[in-house]
């Protein structure tokens, strides 16, 4: 079933990668995009999406602060961390309530990586996810 997604990343290139994956591969809808943690909070309040992807290292407000704030106010929020950070900050985000994480670089030209991403989404939503045919 199609989901509504908000993408938060300070890289235009990464946002396009994610947008193409969700829309062209899965047929999901991107309802908004943002480039920092402050926008993440605002866009969550505004859209209440089925899923938010959230980068960690960003200007103005990072993803760690943003998820802490979002989860304190919206405990049912479904957030997938997407970041090159693999150490303490990622674990902090999981402890604040992130459902899962995907590591950058986003290897969307690699079919195995795409399959891993889909499996991660299936774990997040606890339901099978199908590719757009």
């Amino acid at each position: 079933m199609s989901k509504r997604v908000v993408i938060i990343d300070d890289s235009l290139f990464v946002r396009k990668q994610l947008r193409d994956f969700f829309t062209k591969k899965l047929g999901w809808q991107i309802v908004a995009e943002g480039a920092n943690g402050r926008e993440a909070i605002t866009l969550w309040e505004e859209h209440k999406p089925d899923l938010m992807t959230l980068d960690i290292v960003m200007e103005i407000m990072d993803g760690t602060q943003a998820i802490k704030e979002i989860m304190s106010r919206f405990p049912d929020a479904v957030i997938l961390m997407v970041s090159a950070v693999r150490t303490g900050e990622m674990l902090d985000c999981i402890s604040y309530g992130a459902k899962e994480y995907m590591e950058k670089p986003l290897r969307f030209k690699d079919e195995d990586y795409i399959e891993d991403f889909k499996k991660t989404l299936e774990e997040v939503f606890e339901e099978p996810i199908t590719y757009l045919s």
């Binding site: 890289s11 235009l12 290139f13 990464v14 396009k16 090159a84 950058k104 670089p105 986003l106 290897r107 969307f108 030209k109 690699d110």
Partner: protein
């Protein structure tokens, strides 16, 4: 051995990882299968002759470094599968390239043993000309992608 000689030796001992990481980076981000052109060389100063060039500073307590990646606009268009690319998107895509390249280098124990883990600065895109590049010893080389060439260089010095 002087600091300068130490850096030359360290770059020579680690030379293969710079080209290998560049090939991996292109494959990971763009799905491109690039080939290393000749053996990468230790040089007294990096240079760049392409119309899209991005630099990213890196530093820790011991070293200050710079990564330079350069290519022509048509090469970037091919990598991204686009007919035209505005500067904001070019900056973002090449910025992601140098970020990922830095991460791949840092993942190599031989690199981090020699140069330590370095904190990255914000990448800067230059167009239509060669940016100022310090006279610092570095390593540089080219990748070939079909008929396109991509330049990658890394330069470093001790101290901040």
């Amino acid at each position: 051995m002087s600091e300068h000689e130490e850096i030359i030796l360290a770059l020579k001992e680690t030379s293969s990882i710079f080209s290998e990481a560049a090939v991996e980076c292109l494959a990971a981000l763009f799905g491109a299968e690039a080939v290393v052109e000749d053996e990468w060389q230790v040089v007294e100063r990096l240079h760049g002759e392409f119309d899209r060039m991005i630099t990213m500073g890196m530093a820790n307590d011991q070293y200050s470094s710079l990564i330079l990646v350069a290519m022509n606009e048509e090469t970037l268009c091919q990598l991204l599968g686009e007919d035209e690319i505005d500067l904001e998107y070019a900056s973002s895509a090449l910025g992601e390239f140098v970020n990922t390249y830095c991460a791949l280098l840092s993942d190599q124990a031989i690199f981090s043993d020699k140069f330590g883990k370095q904190i990255q600065a914000v990448p800067l895109l230059y167009t239509g000309g060669c940016p100022f590049l310090p006279f610092l010893t570095g390593i540089e080389g080219y990748l070939t992608l079909d008929s396109h060439r991509i330049y990658v260089g890394y330069t470093t010095r001790k101290g901040n």
